[in-house]
Amino acid sequence: MFSFWKKKKEYPDFWKNYLAHFENKLPKKTPISELKFVVFDTETSGFDHKKDKLLTIGAVRVSNNKIDLADSFEVRVLQQDIYNTEAIPIHGIVPNKEKGIPKNDAIQQFINYIGADIIVGQNINFDIAMINHGLQPILNEKLKNKNIDTAQLAKRAEHLRSPQMMKPSEFTLDALCKRYNIPMHDRHNAAGDALLTAFLFLKLISQLKKRGVKNLGDLIK
C-alpha cells in the first residue's frame, strides 16, 4: 500500500507513460507475428556496468518480420569529461549530435522508445544492467520489459548439437552471424550490431517456428 502511494506521488512523467504501456497484459496465446520487439545494443567503455560509461544506444523495432528504419533508434551519450556541464542546455535539446546528448536524456528517450515491447539483444543482461544503472540517478527503478537473449535463443534452436559444440565461443554474435549467413560489417557500433542481432533474431524465430514455438508463451518461458 505504501509503495503504491509513493509511485503515484513521485514518478516523473516519462516513467508514468512508460508504466502505462504495461497496463494491458498480453495474453500468452498472442501469435509471434503480432508481437513487437525492440532489438537493441549498447556501446560502452568496458564490461563493468557499474564503472564503465555508456557511449551509444542503438535499436530497431521488429514486428511481423519487418523492420521499419524510420522507427529505429540511435543516440550518442554526451561524455561529461569532454563537456562543460554549465553549457548543457535544458532537457532534450541536442547541442551537437556528433558529441551526443546528456546521459539522462538518452536513457529517457530510450525508455520512451521501447514502451512495453519485448526487448531483445545478444547477452541482453549486460545491456539491461547498463540501462538500469543509468536510470539510477533519475529514479530508483528498473526496466520492466520482457526480454530475450539471442545467445540463449540460439542454444534453444540448436539443442540437438553435440555438447562440445555448445561452448560459449560458439554463441558470440560473430560466430552466430557466420553460422546464420549474416554478412557483417563495421561491428561494434551499437545501431549496426542491433540490426545484425535483429536479422539473427528473425532467423532464429523462423527456425524455432518449425519446432512449435508460435506464440508469446512458447517464446518466453
Partner: protein
C-alpha cells in the same frame, strides 16, 4: 539522432541500378525510410491478382522468383538475386499485381515506400526508364518508345561522312619542338637535329617566339649544293616567317592551312601568332598518322596491299577504328556500313591478288565470268569482328566439255582468296562453306539445280543451307550472275509455299533463355546454365525470324537484319512495335558482342553471366523478349503447331 543503419542501407543500394543513378542526398533520404522485411523459403511477398502494396522491393540477400499463373500452370517469369528490383507495379499503375513473388530461400528485402520514391521517379528520366524497362521485361510491354534502347549507350551519334570523325578530332599536343637561336651555326643546328631525331628545327628568339624554320631539305639544297657554308648562322637558310596556329585546331583546319600555304610544317603558339611562345610543331607526317585510322584511308591502303600480311595489318587498324566507334557510341548502322566496306575492299583485293598470282603461275583466265558471293554475317553486313569466312562462287554457264577446266580455275582462285582472307585473320569456315570447296563453286545452272532440290525436299540440313543464300551479297565480278540466282530462288519460293513454313520452323530451333540469376542463365524451365551463346540463342533467332518474314513479305534486296525489321515495321502496322523492338534488340546485341569480342580478343560469342553487371543483364534480358514474341508470331503465322 544518428543514422548508422541508413548509411549501411545506402551503401548497399548505391551499388545497384537504378540507385546508381540517384544523387547521394536523395538516396540517403530513401534509405532512412526503408522497411526491411524477412521472408522464409516459399513465403509470398505478394500474390498475383492481389491489390498492390505501397512499396516496391529490392532483394538485400536471398532469392525471389516471379511467377505467373496461366491455366493452372505456374510460369517462371524471372528470378531475382541480391540488388535486383522487383514489384515496381505500384510506382506505375494502380491495378493488381500480374505476377506473384515468392522467396526461394531465406530472404531479406528492402521495401521502399512509393511516396518516398515518386519524386525521383518523376524527375530522373534515367531512373524511370530503368524501372520501366525492368517492368516491361515481365509483362511484354514496351515503354518509352522514343528512347529506342538508347538509354543503354547514351545518345547515339550519327555520322554522315566518312571523314567527319577524324576531321573534328583535335590535334593532340605534338612533341616538344626542337629549337635554336638565329646565330646558331648551321653545322651545330644539324647536330641538334640529328641528336633529337627530327627533320626540322625552329629558330626562335630569346622569348621562344618563332622566327623561322629550317628542315633537312634546306640543308640538302643549300649546304650540300655549296651555296652556303656550314659555319654560317642558321638564319641564313631558314624559311621565314613561319605559319602559326593557335592550339586546339582540328585536323581539317590544319590540313587546309598547309594546303593554302603549300608548306609541310605548322607552328603552334600560345596565341596563334608569331609574337607568342612556341608550344609545338605539326608536320604533314603527323597528320597522316592521325588519319591512318580513317576508313577512307584504310580502304585506299587495302587497294594497294600486295599480300595477306600487309592486308592483315590494315585490317588490324580497322579493329582500332571499330573500338573507337564503339567507345564513342557511334550508331551501329554506321559502324556496320563502314566495317562491311572495309571487309568488302579486302575481299576484292584478295581476289585481285589471287588472279594475278594465277596469271604469273601460267593459268589462263577463262572467258566465262564469275561472281564472288559473301554469305552469312558478311552477306548481311553484320560482320564487325573477324569471325569465320563464309563465301561462294558462281560462274557463267559453259559448255559441258569446258566445265571442268573453268571450275578448276575458279577453285584454284578461291583457294588462294580464302587463304589470303585467312591470313587477314578470318578463320576458315568450320563447315567448309567456302568458294574453295567444289560444292560451293559452281556454274549458275548447277546452283539453280541445287536450289530446286533443296527447296523440294527440305530436311533440316537443306533448310539450313538455303537460309545462307537469302543473306548473300555479290562482292566482286559479274553481279548479273547473282541477280539471276536471286530471281531463281524467289520463283522457287512462290511455287513452294510450304518451304517458308520449313524456314519458319527452322527459326524456332533456339528459343531464348529467360533471364539471369546470380552467375547463371535461367532457362524457361528454370534450369541454370553458366554460359550463354549470344549468337545461337539471341542473334541467330532474330536473324532467322527477320529472314523468313521478309521473304514472306516478298521483299528482296535487304540483307541486313535490323534493316529487315525496320522494313517489316513499315509494312505491318499491327506489329510495328514488335519489329522495332526486334531491330533495337539486334543492334544492342551486335554492339554488345563486338564490345565483348574486342575486350576478350575472341569472337564475343560466349558470355559468362558472372562478368556482366546489372545493367548489361537487364539490357540482354530485355532483348530476349522480342525474340520470344517473334517466335510466337511465326508459330501462328505459319501454323507451325500443325507442322510436323
Amino acid at each position: 539522432m544518428n543514422n548508422t543503419i541508413a548509411i549501411r542501407v545506402y551503401d548497399f543500394l548505391k551499388n545497384y541500378p537504378p540507385f546508381t543513378l540517384v544523387e547521394k542526398g536523395r538516396l540517403m533520404n530513401v534509405a532512412e525510410k526503408i522497411v526491411i522485411q524477412y521472408y522464409e523459403p516459399q513465403q509470398y511477398i505478394f500474390e498475383q491478382d492481389s491489390a498492390i502494396s505501397n512499396y516496391f522491393y529490392v532483394v538485400k540477400e536471398g532469392a525471389v522468383q516471379l511467377l505467373r499463373n496461366e491455366e493452372d500452370q505456374k510460369i517462371l517469369i524471372d528470378e531475382c538475386d541480391n540488388g535486383d528490383v522487383f514489384g515496381i507495379r505500384p510506382l506505375l499503375a494502380k491495378r493488381p499485381y500480374v505476377v506473384s513473388a515468392q522467396a526461394m530461400e531465406e530472404t531479406l528485402i528492402y521495401a521502399i515506400h512509393t511516396d518516398d520514391f515518386q519524386d525521383i521517379f518523376k524527375n530522373n528520366s534515367e531512373v524511370a526508364f530503368y524501372l520501366a524497362s525492368n517492368f516491361a521485361a515481365g509483362v511484354r510491354n514496351r515503354f518509352a518508345e522514343n528512347k529506342k534502347g538508347k538509354f543503354y549507350y547514351g545518345a547515339e551519334k550519327e555520322i554522315s561522312s566518312n571523314y567527319k570523325l577524324v576531321e573534328v578530332q583535335s590535334i593532340e599536343s605534338s612533341k616538344t619542338p626542337v629549337t635554336c637561336l638565329p646565330n646558331t651555326l648551321i653545322r651545330d643546328a644539324a647536330k641538334i637535329m640529328s641528336k633529337n631525331g627530327v627533320g626540322s628545327i625552329i629558330v626562335v628568339n630569346e622569348k621562344f617566339h618563332p622566327l623561322g624554320i629550317t628542315t633537312d631539305r634546306d640543308f640538302r639544297q643549300e649546304v650540300v649544293a655549296g651555296s652556303v657554308s656550314p659555319t654560317q648562322p642558321v638564319s641564313e637558310i631558314m624559311s621565314s616567317p613561319v605559319i602559326t596556329i593557335p592550339p586546339d585546331r582540328t585536323v581539317a583546319e590544319v590540313q587546309i592551312e598547309m594546303l593554302q600555304h603549300r608548306i609541310h610544317h605548322l607552328c603552334i603558339t600560345e596565341d596563334g601568332t608569331i609574337h607568342s611562345k612556341i608550344l609545338g610543331i605539326i608536320s604533314e607526317h603527323d597528320l597522316l598518322v592521325v588519319q591512318a585510322n580513317n576508313p577512307a584511308v584504310l580502304i585506299r591502303e587495302i587497294k594497294k596491299g600486295t599480300s595477306g600480311a600487309t592486308l592483315r595489318k590494315i585490317r588490324d587498324k580497322a579493329e582500332i577504328l571499330l573500338q573507337k566507334y564503339l567507345e564513342q557510341e557511334v550508331s551501329i548502322k554506321y559502324i556496320s556500313e563502314i566495317m562491311s566496306e572495309i571487309n568488302d575492299a579486302l575481299i576484292i583485293r584478295a581476289i585481285q591478288i589471287a588472279e594475278n598470282d594465277l596469271e604469273v603461275a601460267g593459268y589462263e583466265k577463262p572467258s566465262a565470268d564469275f561472281c564472288w558471293l559473301a554469305l552469312g554475317s558478311e552477306g548481311r553486313k553484320e560482320q564487325l569482328l573477324r569471325t569465320d569466312q563464309d563465301n561462294a562462287l558462281v560462274f557463267e554457264n559453259v559448255a559441258e566439255e569446258d566445265y571442268d577446266e573453268v571450275k578448276n580455275y575458279y577453285l584454284a582462285m578461291a583457294e588462294n582468296v580464302t587463304l589470303i582472307i585467312h591470313e587477314c585473320g578470318f578463320e576458315y569456315c568450320p563447315a567448309d562453306m567456302m568458294a574453295s570447296n567444289p560444292q560451293w563453286c559452281m556454274s549458275l545452272e548447277k546452283w539453280e539445280q541445287r536450289f530446286s532440290k533443296w527447296m523440294n525436299q527440305p530436311g533440316t540440313k537443306e533448310v539450313m543451307m538455303t537460309t545462307i543464300f537469302f543473306d548473300y551479297r555479290p562482292i566482286h565480278g559479274n553481279f548479273q550472275l547473282a541477280e539471276e540466282m536471286t530471281q531463281h530462288i524467289f520463283e522457287g519460293i512462290n511455287q513452294q509455299e510450304i518451304y517458308l513454313s520449313h524456314l519458319a520452323n527452322n527459326a524456332l530451333q533456339n528459343p531464348p533463355p529467360l533471364s539471369f540469376f546470380r552467375n547463371f542463365i535461367v532457362e524457361k524451365n528454370g534450369e541454370h546454365k553458366d554460359q550463354f551463346d549470344l549468337k545461337a540463342r539471341a542473334m541467330m533467332p532474330l536473324a532467322d525470324a527477320a529472314r523468313v518474314l521478309i521473304l514472306n513479305a516478298k521483299v528482296g534486296q535487304i540483307n541486313n537484319t535490323f534493316e529487315r525489321f525496320e522494313k517489316l515495321a513499315e509494312l505491318e502496322e499491327g506489329n510495328r512495335e514488335l519489329f522495332e523492338q526486334a531491330a533495337d534488340a539486334y543492334e544492342i546485341l551486335m554492339r554488345f558482342r563486338a564490345t565483348q569480342g574486342l575486350k576478350h580478343n575472341d569472337s564475343g560469342r560466349f558470355v559468362k553471366p558472372s562478368e556482366l553487371n546489372k545493367m548489361q543483364r537487364l539490357m540482354l534480358r530485355n532483348s530476349f523478349q522480342p525474340i520470344h514474341d517473334l517466335q510466337s508470331l511465326l508459330k501462328v503465322r505459319f501454323r507451325l503447331n500443325l507442322f510436323g
